[in-house]
């Protein structure tokens, strides 16, 4: 794929929150129809489809279409960023022309779920689950104490990640936690897995979202302003958190972002807007450091100085993120949706002069990672 060769021409989310009347397949179908309507297209235009956990064939058949290309890569919450990368390559290679990337998850109501349990003879079943872990709130959080210790940062700075993001969600009726909170309020919330209180862990919701991708040439004939895919990356670390290469750095973040930035031909100085997958409050700190926006150990102070807050020079997680806006279990779709909204000038808290937006996703417990560089302009 050449930078800008492929564009996002449709984007939409379903209703969010508690949707007990909808199964996961229903959420997929609703998301796909909304995104296609946004693009001014119909199911008849779709010849490529992606989904995670649920087979893309199950989803296609439920929708009543027969795609000639599909991808069911299922690597956790960043699967949908990976799908965008794969779809862009497939369109560029001529395997298909119009792909709908779909997410739907009943994380809260648990309707129509495919069981996600790991067997007692799996590596996690033998070497993690016997220790009373309930992934992810007490698994994904495990590296944080070592990270804070080695980088000289504090639990207050960790809590402040959630406080700043609550400023972005403040007043948004679509946000699960739509009220600004102070660091003290976040630290005094119910304890989940010390040092993480409930406010430092993501919300748990039902919802879905979808993107429609096609070629730049086709995009110019459609009704919505195109969001161009300038660069993409995917990477991996360890399937079980105790074995990640370095507890204080994400190998996946570093590799995926390096690939995406190189493909796009940009550096951190070119980035106007950033989404970092925030299932838990330490992830944006890792993201700022591993993507190279700040030096090691500088993320907490950078956030405290207001750089990522409304009015700051690097607006980050501007929907409120997984901590405040929504988190179905695989949040990556919603990070991409906010980047598209910002680049199309339709965000709830719109940032001025956004032209280059970076989305950093993670899957599993630092297991998988993917990065997208998106822009409203051709390079």
């Amino acid at each position: 794929m050449k930078p800008g060769e492929i564009a996002i021409v449709g984007a939409a989310e379903t209703e969010l929150g508690a949707l007990p009347e909808m199964t996961e397949l229903d959420l997929h179908a609703d998301a796909a129809r909304r995104a296609l309507a946004d693009a001014g297209l119909t199911l008849a235009d779709v010849d490529g489809l992606t989904s995670a956990v649920h087979s893309p064939i199950d989803v296609a058949h439920y929708l009543g279409i027969t795609p000639s290309w599909y991808d069911g890569t299922s690597v956790g919450g960043c699967s949908f960023l990976v799908h965008v990368r794969h779809a862009a390559a497939a369109i560029a290679a001529g395997l298909c022309s119009t792909v709908v990337v779909i997410h739907g998850e009943s994380g809260r109501s648990q309707k129509g779920r495919i069981p996600r349990q790991r067997g007692a003879d799996s590596m996690a079943g033998q070497f993690e689950l016997p220790y009373g872990v309930v992934a992810p709130p007490n698994t994904f959080t495990l590296p944080a104490m070592r990270y804070l210790h080695d980088t000289g940062q504090t639990i207050e700075q960790l809590a402040n990640v959630a406080a700043v993001q609550s400023q972005w969600a403040d007043g948004n009726p679509r946000a699960s936690r739509g009220t600004a909170k102070t660091v003290d309020e976040i630290l005094s919330a119910k304890m989940i897995a010390w040092p993480f209180t409930k406010s430092m862990c993501c919300v748990v919701t039902d919802g879905g979202g979808a993107l429609v991708l096609t070629s730049r040439e086709r995009a110019s004939d459609l009704k919505r302003p195109p969001v161009y895919v300038l660069g993409t990356g995917e990477a991996c670390d360890s399937p079980i958190v105790s074995q990640m290469e370095d507890l204080t750095r994400s190998k996946g973040f570093r590799r995926a972002s390096a690939a995406a930035f190189a493909e796009a031909g940009i550096t951190v100085g070119d980035v106007d807007h950033l989404m970092v997958y925030d299932a838990f409050a330490h992830l944006p700190m890792y993201g700022l450091e591993d993507l190279g926006f700040v030096g090691r150990g500088e993320a907490g102070a950078f956030i405290e100085e207001g750089n990522t807050a409304p009015g700051g020079k690097l607006p980050m997680n501007t929907s409120g993120g997984g901590l405040c806006y929504t988190h179905t279990g695989m949040y990556g779709m919603f990070a991409m949706q906010e980047s598209v909204r910002q680049l199309r000038r339709e965000a709830f808290k719109q940032v001025e002069n956004v032209h280059t937006s970076v989305v950093q996703g993670v899957g599993g417990m630092f297991t998988a990672a993917a990065t997208l560089v998106l822009s409203d302009r051709l390079p």
Partner: protein
């Protein structure tokens, strides 16, 4: 909730020497005959150099506290145990592993990163789990 409700690991052909070791009171890890590195979790080949069939050796059982959470959200069968410490420890031989800390209060003031630990063994169903406790500081 009883111990019977807690997850019990099921060994595989590759991991069986580890679980046979814990029943003997030994913490066994693999060691690559080619590059000399210790390996955990058990695998059919060395993840560092690619050599096949690593050997099994008995680790000292000494470790240090790498990272932890004090968990208030109980896993299956752990309802009566909260809060409890889920930790990552680094063995003297190099590999890291997840475990529970025992013999210490679940209190941040008592849990200092890098504190020395030693392995203890606890029955879990038909298996024996390695856990870790602080090493007594001799006066």
């Amino acid at each position: 909730m009883t111990v019977a409700d807690k997850p019990v690991p099921v060994p595989t052909p590759v991991t069986r020497p580890f679980w046979e070791g814990t029943k003997e009171g030994e913490l066994r890890v693999q060691k690559c005959d080619a590059c000399g590195k210790h390996i955990f979790y058990p695998r059919p080949g060395c993840p560092f150099c690619g050599a096949a069939d690593p050997s099994w050796v008995v680790a000292t059982g000494r470790a240090r506290l790498e990272s932890y959470v004090i968990n208030h959200l109980p896993g299956p069968g752990f309802k009566d145990d909260v809060p409890y410490v889920i930790a990552i420890v680094t063995l003297e031989e190099g590999p890291r592993m997840m475990t529970n800390l025992v013999g210490v209060d679940p209190d941040p003031a008592k849990l200092t990163l890098d504190m020395p630990l030693e392995v203890v063994f606890e029955e879990r169903g038909d298996q024996v789990l390695p856990k870790f406790r602080p090493v007594e500081v001799k006066a």
